[in-house]
Symmetry: none
């Protein structure tokens, strides 16, 4: 089609992006094993064979989707975080980051949530996950040593906070509650109460 690439930056292949987007959509809705590759292809508007020009296998595609989602989630959580926040403020920043990411990209959030234990995840995917958890763990340790967070294993507090957020997201995702600024404020406050000293 395009005879030569005149752009200055390596254009990240619109087709590749379309495939990733289609895969995210379908994997998050119908699960990995429940989604045929040709289905992904037609949703992406490409030929079935084209997928294999960009990804070595279906599993490879799923790993790429996973890593992409984790990367974006990490960006939503840590990019642009203002300096010198108090633990309380940092907590709010975190919660709002989750809120924004899961609101603007619900499929990505659901995909991450449902595929953490997928058997096909490779080392790079596990690393991408760690790169999201790391800054959160850092925060927990800092907050705790600053005496702002309850005395308890930080992993415990973290898993409960994140779990609470996931519970909130799923309730919203299935229409049981409405996401509004009030709900955001209220949930954030409640979550903080759970962990504060």
């Amino acid at each position: 089609m395009k005879p030569r690439d005149t752009g200055l930056v390596a254009e990240p292949s619109a087709k590749r992006e379309a495939i990733l987007a289609a895969a995210l959509e379908l994997f998050s809705e119908r699960s990995f094993a429940g989604t045929p590759v040709p289905h992904v292809a037609s949703r992406a508007g490409v030929g079935a064979g084209t997928i294999y020009r960009y990804f070595a296998s279906k599993e490879d595609l799923a790993n790429a989707v996973y890593q992409r989602c984790q990367r974006d989630l990490r960006a939503a959580l840590v990019s642009g975080v203002p300096p010198n926040l108090s633990p309380r403020q940092e907590f709010r920043w975190l919660w709002c980051g989750l809120w924004e990411f899961s609101s603007s990209r619900p499929r990505a959030f659901r995909f991450l949530e449902t595929h953490h234990h997928a058997s096909y995840l490779d080392a790079a995917s596990r690393e991408s996950r760690a790169s999201v958890e790391e800054p959160i763990s850092d925060f927990a340790r800092r907050a705790q040593s600053a005496g702002a967070m309850r005395e308890a294993p930080p992993e415990l507090l973290l898993s409960m906070v994140l779990g609470a957020f996931v519970g909130l997201f799923k309730a919203a995702d299935t229409g049981r509650i409405e996401l509004s600024p009030e709900v955001l404020a209220c949930s954030e406050e409640a979550a903080w109460e759970m962990v504060r000293a």
Copy 2:
């Protein structure tokens, strides 16, 4: 033709039970679509065709597993609840019920957690889910009108509490935290802080 029934209650077919157990194990580990029926059969120690003597289809089997797990979870939460508990005590009862169920039957808990949105769930399965959520919602309404629980949509509080528990469970399930009486007490206390008035 069994010559005489030696039990008091009609014995619920050991083979059917084995199939349900094997299906729970595999579905919770490898997902529904990712588990071939013959795998379930061999894990259950029966022939592949035998599964279809007890369940009309793979989906039917999954629904049976789901309903069985929900039934047991409900029993763990509501059976034997002492009368005249305070909201605080009732909350603890609930949390301990979740703890006990998810500790003693981690696969059942994981299966429920990961298959709530499965497309193959039928009306009976959705009902079985409602029968678990109902008593919990009842509690939330009572606690709130008794002024013991924070002013907020009960659905919101509930989803966060249950989410927090799921987060805890998953952290334990993947070995990130150790389940001990201290963790139980601490987590229960933290969860209550999240919702109390």
Copy 3:
């Protein structure tokens, strides 16, 4: 059930008869390969295993059905034929025999009609078929040498006459024509016109 057989004649096993009847019914309606053996069993009101006490295999059962039908058809055509009939009268006798048999036992007639070329028919079945065709061929030869039948290969005339009857039967079987004494008389007359000298 019945503690002892007090009858004088070897009672031809009611179960065997029920199985043969059920098999005839189903094979004639849904074809041999399209009929599961357990379906035959339940239609016959016996256990699936019971069939194998009377017949070595599904194919064996089909052969038994076939031979039984041929035997009955032969009886309908040749038993009690009055002596010293003219060719014209003998032809009428034949036609009426077909009429009676196919009216009273339409399934048997249809089964024979549709399973003549079945691959599972064994030698005995082929013999049973010959024992039906033989007396008809005999008639044809006699009628022809008596100058009553058209000069043509007897096989040709016979196949057309029988074919005409089958066509008539199928039209009645599918409700396209009504079987009445008039239709019997008319069709017999027409068929005779086809072959008479």
Copy 4:
């Protein structure tokens, strides 16, 4: 992407044709239920999965075969029929049409003959059958009102004539008679005698 279309008409997929031909062959020999799809595939020289690119199911394939055969039979009977034929001539034309079709495509004729009552035939197949019977019925009515055909329900006469032809065909098909111009002439003459006034 075929670079250029060398034929005048869109070539009707050689593979689809091969599948139809193989299915006709096997269904007519071993029955529908008695023929595994992979047999059809290997007879057609294609992979098993390929069949499902062209036909939605085995039943769909059988319907396509049926409709194709009916279409061809209809063409053999009604295309190019000269104008202003007498009933006698028209009858001969019909008989010769049957003769030609069944001689040149014996499997198609046998398939139609044996699958008329198949449970899987859909509306289109039933329509295709009607489109063959219609012109024949038309002829019968015309011939009868012209006083050339015996007074009797036209359905009756028709079913007997076609039945006679089928009888003839089957006798030839199983080698009991030889198809020769003499047999054609003789049988046509005999069949006419059956129905003429």
